[in-house]
């Protein structure tokens, strides 16, 4: 089992969701986050006071998958999120130790899908 964490452009969320759905990956958690990498933050000015290097809005996806779904998930995220510009985001893959479905207390692979 893997946990896929992806940081993407906010306006790409709908396309990523659509691609994931097409690959039969329906269980995702979405949060709004701030951050920046090489695409530097933008300067904001309030009554002349400059705030440089401000963080940019991004969307963070968390998707828990069984191992055979890992590559389709990564492919779907890339297909939906890529513009080719800096700021497109990153995908992190972590090993997932355990998964429990609260309703039934099922554990492991069966609880993910």
């Amino acid at each position: 089992m893997k946990l896929v964490i992806a940081i993407i452009q906010p306006f790409k969320l709908e396309e990523v969701k659509e691609e994931l759905y097409n690959s039969e990956i329906n269980l995702i958690t979405v949060t709004e986050v701030l951050g920046h990498g090489r695409q530097k933050g933008i300067t904001e000015v309030y009554r002349g006071a400059k705030e440089t290097g401000n963080l940019l809005r991004k969307v963070r996806l968390e998707i828990a998958v069984n191992d055979n779904y890992l590559e389709p998930t990564i492919r779907a995220i890339i297909k939906g999120a890529k513009t080719g510009e800096t700021g497109d985001g990153k995908i992190f893959v972590l090993d997932l130790a355990e998964c429990v479905r609260i309703r039934t207390q099922e554990r492991g692979s069966i609880a993910i899908g």
């Binding site: 709908e14 701030l34 933008i42 300067t43 904001e44 000015v45 309030y46 940019l56």
Partner: protein
């Protein structure tokens, strides 16, 4: 002879109409995505600054100085000769400057209405130049033709009590032109934009409804029975249209929405604007009930069918509602309401309907042509549209270096 009651009412009405522009800012601001809300508020507020100055320096003279020509001319530049004595051809019981400042608020809100069509993708510098040119070469001449002494549409007998043609059809058709030539917003198909703050839309509608009493009842230019008639029919038409839009949604989509009631109320206010001083209350209900049908079809059927991106439906509400209002004036106008007006078709004068129709067509032809020329000129020298990256990041950050909402604290 100055009448203090009339003067007080026109000054209050001027303040009420001014409030409509910030009202419009919130109405539109709530509808855009949150990365663009400040850009819309900014566009509305800077119009209040720029066009108020344009108006006192030369806009009022171009619009209202007596002339049979294309414009009113330059006789009243810098308010030269526009003083505190009444100018009887426009309003015999209030100081001339009271009439001038009342009209200033109309000149401010009209270009602001167009913002709804190009929201979320226009460069701020281009917007400023476009707006100033549009006010000078579209609003001022048209205002002169319909309302100014010597204006040819006025002499032809066109009825436009408070600006259905001059304000709403005019701004609404210009909105359609800019929406078409500017093109659709980026990523629209995959990422359908939802209004980011519906309570703002409601707040804006409330301010518009409130301010519209000044717009319509103030257009009587006196505190008299005609002003009361305009006040009553304005309120009734807005109420009818808000209700009717909600009912249409309920039948067609299964649930009525607050967005629908707000859209309907504004459409009703638009439609009653040319008619407010010429029709009684039962026609006002009919005008209100039907305007929502026409505008609903325009924004939910025609817009998707033709594919133009009138972001916030400036055309669908203001032009469509304005045309219905102008024609309805030709149907329902009655000399029993206003002896200085005319009878409409239902009161035995079919000719009035043709005069109304001719005025609508003249407005559309003139505004489409000149708006297009102004747009192309601005695009040539400045470039109207922001680059795609700025559009994606939002106009608040890229055009103004500010943002409306923080995410952390």
């Amino acid at each position: 002879m100055i009448n203090s009651g009339d003067t007080a009412w026109v000054l209050i009405s001027s303040a009420l109409v001014l409030l409509m522009t910030p009202g419009l800012a919130f109405f539109y601001g709530g509808m855009v995505r949150r990365k663009n809300v400040l850009s819309v508020l900014m566009q509305c507020f800077i119009i209040m600054c720029v066009l108020s100055i344009q108006w006192v320096i030369f806009g009022y003279s171009l619009s209202f100085a007596p002339s049979k020509g294309f414009w009113g001319g330059f006789a009243w530049l810098g308010l030269n000769g526009v003083g505190f004595e009444p100018y009887a051809d426009y309003a015999g019981t209030i100081p001339h400057q009271a009439f001038m400042i009342f009209q200033a608020m109309f000149a401010v809100i009209t270009p602001a209405l167009i913002i709804g069509a190009f929201a979320e993708r226009m460069k701020f510098s281009a917007f400023l130049v476009f707006t100033l040119l549009w006010a000078t070469f579209v609003y001022d001449p048209l205002c002169h033709w319909v309302w100014g002494m010597g204006g040819w549409l006025r002499n032809m007998g066109a009825l436009d009590f408070a600006g259905g043609t001059v304000v709403h059809i005019n701004a609404g058709i210009a909105a359609l032109v800019t929406a078409i030539v500017l093109g659709r917003r980026a990523n629209l198909e995959k990422n359908v934009p939802a209004p980011h703050n519906m309570p703002f839309v409601v707040l804006g509608t409330a301010l518009l409804w409130f301010g519209w009493f000044g717009f319509n009842a103030g257009s009587a230019l006196a505190a008299n029975g005609l002003a009361v008639n305009a006040f009553v029919v304005t309120h009734t038409a807005a109420a009818s249209a808000g209700l009717s839009w909600a009912l249409i949604e309920w039948v067609r989509n299964g649930k009525p929405t607050i967005f629908g009631v707000c859209s309907g109320a504004v459409a009703g206010l638009v439609a009653i604007t040319p008619a407010a001083g010429f029709v009684s209350v039962v026609p006002a209900i009919i005008i209100g009930l039907l305007v929502s049908v026409f505008c609903f079809i325009a924004v939910t059927v025609i817009k998707p069918l033709l594919g133009y991106d009138d972001s916030l439906d400036a055309f669908g509400v203001h032009c469509v509602g304005g045309i219905w209002g102008a024609l309805a004036t030709g149907l329902f106008a009655s000399k029993l309401v206003n002896p200085a007006g005319a009878n409409g078709l239902f009161f035995g004068n079919p000719k009035q309907l043709f005069i109304q129709l001719a005025t609508v067509i003249v407005t559309i032809v003139y505004t489409v042509a000149v708006t297009l020329i102004i747009y192309k000129l601005v695009d040539l020298f400045i470039g109207v549209r922001v680059d795609e990256k700025s559009e994606v990041m939002g106009l608040d950050l890229t055009q103004h270096h500010e943002r409306a909402y923080t995410v952390l604290e």
